[in-house]
Symmetry: C2
Subunit: 450 residues, 2 copies
C-alpha cells in the first residue's frame, strides 16, 4: 500500500465540497479513506468544517475518527454536538476510548451525555472507568473482554462466550474467574473446543496468567507486555478481581509517548509540545530551560570575574572557556543519557559505586586522548608549553568530573523516585558548565602559580 498522504490539493477539494454542501460526493469520498486518515483531514479543517464532516458521516465511522483526532480539535467539535449526538458516538466505541472522551467533556454535560447512552451496561462500564487515574493501568484498560466462571461446564461456557464476544472486536484470550470474580487463569480456545461439553472449566483451564494491578504505572505495564510479547494483559483490582484488559495497541502509544517525552527532556523542552503548537505554548516549554542556562552562564561569568587578575598575563586561558564548558556539557549529557536509557529499559546491573568507577575510567581514557590533541594544538599555536599543559590537564579533570556528575545525578534521582530524564540536557549541561569552569581556573592558577 502507498500510505495516505494529505496533500494541499486534496484538502482544498474537501473544503470546497463542504462549502458546496455536496454531501453525496463527500460521503463516497470519505468511505474510501481509513478512519485514521479522515481524522488527519479533520485536524486540518476549521472547527465548523470538521463538525460538518462528523455530522455527515454515520456514528460507526465518526466515533473512530474522533478517537484519532487531535485533542484540541476534538474538544472543539464535541462542543458543537448535542448530548444525544455525543452519546451516539460513545455507543460505538470501546469503553476505554469512550471513557477518554467523556473525561475531556465539560463537567456540566457529562451526566446528560451518559444518560443518553442507550446501552446501560456500556454506560455503567464507562462510568466505572472514569474513576481511575489516567496515569495508571486502570486508566488505560477497557472493559471489553471474554470471561468465564471456573464452575461452568464447557456447554454453558460456549453460550456465554458467544454473548460476550459480540462486544469485543478482537478476542485475545478467554479469562477464567471464580465466583467472586477473582482471576484464576486463562483458557485456550483449542482446549475448549476439544473438551467434552460436560467438562467443567476448572478442570481444563491454564492457571498461569500474567496480569497487572489497576494501580500499576503505564510504563510498567508497557515493560511487562514488551518483555513477555503479550498482545493483551488482564487487569485486576486490589483483591485480585478481574476488572479489565489492556491491549498492545494502547501500549504502543504509551511507549511512543514515553520515548518522545525523554527525548524532549534531554533537549530542554519541558512540556509535551509539537512543532505545530502555538508560539506561546512553545515558549512556555522552552523558556524555563533557557533561563536556567542563562543563570548558569551568569554563574560562569561571575567565576571568571573572580579570576580577572589573570587576564593580563594569561588571556589565552579565557579563550578556552567555551571549549571547557562545551566538553563538560557534552560528556555530562553522554554519560547521563546512557544511564537514563539503562534505567528506562531496566538493564542496569550492579552498584552505583561500580558504575562510577567504570565511568571514571571511561572519562579518563577519553579525557587523555582529547588532552593530548589539545596540548599539541595549543603548544603549536601559542608556543607556551606551561599554559598548554595547564589547559590540557584541566580538561582531563573536567571531563572526569563531568562524567561522574552525569552518572551520579540520574542514579540519585532514580533512587529518590524522581524521573531521571530530567537530569539530562540543560540541567546537566548547565551545572557541568559551572563546575568545569571553576575547576579549570583553579587548576590553571595552581599550575601557573599566579
Amino acid at each position: 500500500m502507498t500510505p495516505f498522504k494529505l496533500t494541499d490539493e486534496l484538502l482544498e477539494q474537501i473544503k470546497q465540497l463542504i462549502a458546496d454542501n455536496d454531501t453525496q460526493e463527500l460521503r463516497s469520498m470519505m468511505q474510501e479513506f481509513h478512519y485514521a486518515d479522515v481524522a488527519e483531514i479533520a485536524n486540518e479543517l476549521s472547527v465548523e468544517e470538521a463538525t460538518y464532516l462528523i455530522k455527515l458521516l454515520d456514528s460507526e465511522t465518526t466515533s473512530d475518527v474522533l478517537t484519532e483526532m487531535d485533542e484540541d480539535v476534538r474538544e472543539a467539535v464535541l462542543n458543537n454536538l448535542s448530548a444525544k449526538e455525543i452519546a451516539e458516538e460513545l455507543e460505538e466505541l470501546d469503553t476505554d476510548d469512550a471513557a477518554d472522551i467523556v473525561g475531556e467533556l465539560p463537567k456540566e454535560i457529562v451526566q446528560e451525555v451518559i444518560s443518553e447512552i442507550e446501552d446501560r451496561e456500556h454506560a455503567k462500564d464507562i462510568v466505572d472507568l472514569l474513576r481511575y487515574d489516567e496515569n495508571s493501568a486502570g486508566g488505560l484498560m477497557a472493559k471489553e473482554l471474554v470471561k468465564v466462571n471456573e464452575n461452568w461446564t464447557v456447554l454453558n461456557c460456549v453460550g456465554e462466550m458467544r454473548k460476550q464476544a459480540e462486544n469485543v472486536t478482537r478476542v485475545h484470550s478467554i479469562y477464567v474467574v471464580d465466583d467472586e470474580g477473582k482471576l484464576k487463569g486463562r483458557l485456550s480456545l483449542k482446549d475448549l473446543l476439544t473438551a467434552s461439553t460436560k467438562t467443567h472449566i476448572r478442570d481444563i483451564y491454564i492457571p498461569k496468567v500474567d496480569s497487572v494491578n489497576v494501580n500499576e504505572k503505564p510504563e510498567e505495564v508497557a515493560k511487562i507486555m514488551q518483555k513477555y510479547d503479550l498482545e493483551a494483559i488482564p487487569v485486576v483490582d486490589e483483591i485480585g478481581r478481574l476488572v479489565g484488559r489492556i491491549t498492545i495497541d494502547d501500549i504502543v502509544d504509551v511507549i511512543k509517548e514515553e520515548a518522545d517525552k525523554d527525548y524532549q527532556m534531554a533537549a530542554g523542552i519541558s512540556q509535551d509540545v509539537e512543532a505545530d503548537d502555538s508560539i506561546w505554548e512553545l515558549t512556555r516549554a522552552r523558556l524555563p530551560w533557557l533561563i536556567l542556562g542563562l543563570l548558569g552562564g551568569l554563574g560562569a561569568a561571575a567565576i571568571m570575574g573572580g579570576f580577572e587578575e589573570m587576564i593580563s598575563q594569561h588571556a589565552i586561558l579565557f579563550f578556552f572557556t567555551p571549549l571547557i564548558a562545551a566538553m563538560a556539557g557534552n560528556v555530562g549529557v553522554q554519560s547521563s543519557a546512557i544511564i537514563v536509557q539503562g534505567l528506562a529499559n531496566d538493564d542496569l546491573k550492579g552498584s552505583i559505586g561500580n558504575r562510577l568507577v567504570k565511568e571514571m575510567l571511561l572519562a579518563l581514557l577519553n579525557g587523555l586522548i582529547l588532552a593530548v590533541l589539545l596540548l599539541l594544538f595549543t603548544w603549536v599555536w601559542k608556543g607556551t608549553f606551561n599554559t598548554a599543559v595547564a589547559i590540557s590537564l584541566s580538561l582531563v579533570v573536567v571531563i572526569v568530573v563531568a562524567g561522574l556528575v552525569g552518572t551520579f545525578i540520574p542514579l540519585f534521582l532514580h533512587k529518590r523516585n524522581i524521573d531521571p530524564a530530567i537530569a539530562t540536557g540543560p540541567f546537566i549541561t548547565t551545572s557541568n558548565d559551572i563546575f568545569g569552569i571553576l575547576i579549570y581556573f583553579w587548576i590553571a592558577k595552581l599550575i601557573l602559580g599566579i
Copy 2:
C-alpha cells in the same frame, strides 16, 4: 503479578545448582519462570553455565529463551552447540526468529545447520527469509500465516486453514490470494462461519486490506501499523504476491529501537551501546562527538584570539562567552529536537519558509525576555550600560540565528534523505557555539566602536 526481578541471591543459587549438576532442581526451577526471565538469567551467567542451562532444558523452551537473549551471549552459546542441536532449536521457532538466528551464525556452518532441520518446508521458509535486507519489511516478516485461494469454496477453505493454522501461534487474519498468489483481500472468521459450505471465497472476502512492500523500511511499517492500529500486516513482493506477515510485537521492538537511537544521537552517542558495554565500545561511540566538540572549542578560541585587542578595555565580554555559547547550543538543540520529532512522527505540515518564520518569531520572543534579564544583571553588576546593551543585543541575535540553524539543518538533511537525528546534539551545539561567539564579538565590536 509482581514482575520477575533477578536478585543476586537467585543468581548465586542458580550458579550453585549448575556447579552441583543438580539437573532435577534446575529443571523444576526454570519451569516456573517465563522464557524471557530465563533469558535474563542466562545473560548473567558465564558462557559455559548458559550453555549448560540451554542443553538441560528441552528445545521447545530454549528456542524462545535464545531469541530473547543478548546477541553476544547467544552467539557464544550457539558456538558451543552442534549443528544438529541448533537445528532442533530452529525447528521450534517461528521463521522470522529462526532466520534472525541463522543470520548470526558463522557462514561455514549455516548450510549444515539448515540441512539438519527436519521440517523441509520450515527450512525452505528460513532460507527464503535470509535473502531479505535486515533493515526492510522482508527482514522483519515471518512466513507463518493463514492464506486461502479466492477460488476455493468455504468447505475447502476450512480444511486447508486447519492445516495451516497448526504452524501459526496467533491467527490475526485470514488472507485471500488469487491463483498467482497475489494478495486480494482478507476474510473475516465470522463471514466464513456463517456462509454456506459451497460458497466461493471470492464472493465473501473483504477486498480492502492494508499491506506493505517487502522493501519498505521498518520505521514506515511501524508508522502504518501504529496509525491504523493493526496487530498484523501482510507483506507483498514487487508484483503483489503475498510473501509474509509482520506482527505488532516485532514492531514494538522497532519503535523502541528507533526512539533509543534518536535519543542517543541527540546525546552524542553514535553507536547502539548500553551502559553495560565495554569501556572500549563506549569510547568508540562517544569519542568522535567529543573530538567534534574539541574542534568547535578550538574554533571558538581562535575567534576570541582574533578579538584579543578588546581584552584590556572590555574583559567582561570574555566572561560572557560561555553564556553566549551555552544559549546558542541550548536553543539550537531545542529547535532541532522539535523538528526531528515532528519529522519522525510525520506531523510537520507547511513549507520550510513558514517553519523558519515561526522559529524566528519564537526565538525573538525568548531572546528578548532573556536579554532583558541579562541586561539588568550586567548593568547592576558592572555598571557599564553600553557593554550591557552590547552583550544583551548580541544574545538576541545569537538566539535567533541558533534557532534558525537548528530548524533549517534537520529539514535540509531530511530533504537530502539523511537521517535528521544526526543534526541534534553535539553537531548543532558545536556549530552554534562557533556561530554564536563570532556574532557576539562582531556585534560587540560594532556597538562599542573599537
